[in-house]
């Protein structure tokens, strides 16, 4: 009897962190070894509390970028970015990327963009966590010879608002909400405005 209780308690303790993790949040490794080798590192961990605080301190009146960010971040519960730049090619172990990629095979996640360029040795995957017709998470895994990036955005993502970021952060129109693929091969368009995005 006592052993059973102990098993239940142990199981609950082990399961605790899993339950505590927000839906859509990936378990990102520490990448401590990568950070040592990298010439440039961007490590952003903004949980719900920090994100709320960050949103409060954005100056929407002075900067259109910050205004767009403020609009976007209200529904988000976390942003996690790991970005490493190296001085040599492929200084990062592929196993680390595969570990993260495996988490995106979980139900709910859909790969909306898979781009492989052998010419530039660039791989970019964009995943969306969909709940009905609402996006609850966005993940990007991008690997280039000298760069390695994982982005994990958690929370209700309004795709319209991502479109509104066009011309502000250089976010392109991916037409992700319609499921349509972007029109191929068009001449480089002039800088887009938010009105165009709508």
């Amino acid at each position: 009897m006592n052993a059973r209780v102990a098993y239940v308690i142990a199981a609950l303790l082990l399961a605790g962190p899993t339950f505590a993790q927000t839906k859509g949040q990936l378990q990102l490794p520490e990448f401590a070894a990568l950070a040592e080798k990298a010439s440039e590192t961007v490590n952003v961990t903004l949980d719900a509390n920090l994100l709320r605080m960050a949103c409060r301190f954005l100056n929407a009146d002075a900067d259109p970028e910050q205004a767009a960010a403020k609009k976007l971040c209200t529904g988000l519960t976390g942003i996690y970015v790991r970005h490493y730049t190296f001085d040599t090619d492929y200084a990062y172990p592929k196993g680390d990327i595969d570990g993260v990629r495996r988490q995106l095979n979980a139900p709910g996640w859909s790969r909306i963009v898979e781009a492989r360029s052998k010419k530039e040795n660039t791989n970019v995957d964009v995943f969306l966590l969909l709940n009905g017709d609402k996006a609850q998470g966005l993940s990007i895994i991008a690997s280039e010879p000298r760069e390695f990036t994982i982005v994990n955005v958690v929370g209700s993502i309004d795709l319209e608002q991502i479109h509104e970021l066009e011309g502000k952060f250089g976010v392109p129109n991916l037409e992700i909400e319609t499921g349509k693929k972007p029109a191929p091969a068009k001449p480089p368009a002039p800088e887009k405005t938010p009105e165009k995005a709508r």
């Binding site: 961007v42 970028e65 052998k118 982005v151 952060f169 392109p172």
Partner: protein
Amino acid sequence: MNENFANEFERELRRRLRPVEAPEGFAERLMAALPPEKKSTVVAFIPKASRPVRQFGVPAALAASLLGAVLFGMHVANERVIEEQKGIAASQQLMQALRVTSQKLDLAYEAVNNPPTAGDEENRS
């Protein structure tokens, strides 16, 4: 008549007030009749506590509450500064995160939109 009476009275007064020798052994008897001399005792002086409190109680309480208010204000101001620094740092991190995100979305966009040229093997979906 009156003069005689006054003279008589004065004479009688002088007679009565003249110095008279004390009887034999009077001093000894008097000293023996006195109570024994008490030894002096040391009494500690304990100041009453209520008096200074009554005197300085209100100013001390005011000073203490003023000091408390100043310390609390300093603490609140300090907390606000720390929170502001944290908030600014977090907003900078957020902007940096969004820039990296947009760069990578741009990369995906470029990869999807650029058609494969001859001899260039690309896989897009």
